[in-house]
Symmetry: C2
Subunit: 217 residues, 2 copies
């Protein structure tokens, strides 16, 4: 599958590498063309990896991944272009963390609405799925690096887009029963508001290499 | 151990039963004496169970458990009396859920501060530990009712009070490595903000009988 990833940070590059190693073609998009981090990434990953602007990455992808910072995601997606997102599954893995008051950051949900819902409202023709935002990048891209089963969540209003997301997660190594559909896109609120607990856990465990598993009765 | 539980709802009575069956003495406190639900509970549980006002329950306990609704907890603890809380571990299991806008409820954290921190600020001589608020009452009181290991969190600034909480959790059947200390009381923010995800999971799983386990790398 062709995947356009917006964002050249740790999340974008780590997911990009994971997707290329799973047999997909990935174009990593940045604000301006000729981004140094993106170029280094493409050189390291080799065949299947390419770079471009946000718009070029989004146009390339049959699926688009928002891996930009949560506070600039709407701006980055606007640069990507409504027409390059229309009709496509848009996997939103970003978290709207505000570090302006120091650490720990606060989660920004204007009017109690999640970033994912704000993206969907701004780009109504995209098919937004919130996923993967509840863990560190290395675990997103290589779930089998943890010693036992754990969970990844999906929230979205478009059933077909969630099915595409499930397929992509499977190609990264996520088992079917590890993928937990938590409902419509409004459930992205809980996925984003989980971040403060994640940050506390990272602090107390002394590592970001962990995740949670849903244990059913 | 003598435990005073404030609140006669499902959480208070279920935890109360669990603690009595674990060999503790429990006094269940309510706003007014002669509360019918509390009386029924005490009659069912038998020896080790008693009832009283919030103040009588708090006075009775060497440990106090806040199992009142999160939006009325400060009022209930005020009725319990600063002098009956002073120096005691206060296990806050409440969630500040606001159902005034319908379902799903919103989590209320004034100025980004958790209910547990607000309680600590209002009752500075109590030794507040946030715990058990991240699951349904039946799982709190009987963790072995789930088929595999799962996690319960502790947040608090008083190390000795967290040790008392650990001992009490152990008496309910929580294994030492299931009890995860997430740090100081500010980490209660994440424990309370987890509730929207919990509510989404309850909806998608069709059951409240579940919990999460922390899986470490």
């Amino acid at each position: 599958m062709r995947i356009g990833i917006l964002g050249t940070g740790v999340v974008g590059t780590t997911l990009g590498t994971g997707f290329v190693r799973s047999g997909h073609e990935v174009r990593l998009g940045s604000r301006t063309s000729g981004n140094e981090k993106a170029g280094q990434w493409a050189a390291e990953v080799g065949a299947g990896a390419s770079t471009g602007t946000f718009a070029e990455a989004a146009e390339f992808g049959g699926v688009v991944v928002n891996a930009t910072g949560g506070l600039v995601s709407i701006e980055a997606l606007t640069a990507a272009g409504q027409q390059n997102l229309a009709g496509k599954p848009l996997l939103d893995v970003a978290n709207p963390l505000d570090f302006s008051g120091g650490f720990p950051p606060r989660i920004v949900q204007d009017d109690g609405r999640s970033l994912a819902e704000a993206i969907q409202a701004t780009f109504p023709e995209a098919r937004v799925v919130k996923t993967l935002n509840t863990m560190t990048a290395a675990v997103m891209a290589d779930p089998r690096s943890l010693p036992s089963d754990h969970s990844v969540f999906l929230a979205g209003d478009d059933v077909d887009a969630k099915q595409v997301a499930t397929t992509l997660l499977g190609s990264l190594g996520w088992a079917p029963d590890e993928i937990v559909d938590v409902g419509g896109l409004a459930s992205a609120r809980g996925l984003e508001l989980y971040l403060p607990l994640w940050l506390s856990l990272m602090g107390s465990l002394g590592s970001a290499t962990f995740n949670i598993q849903v244990v059913r009765g």
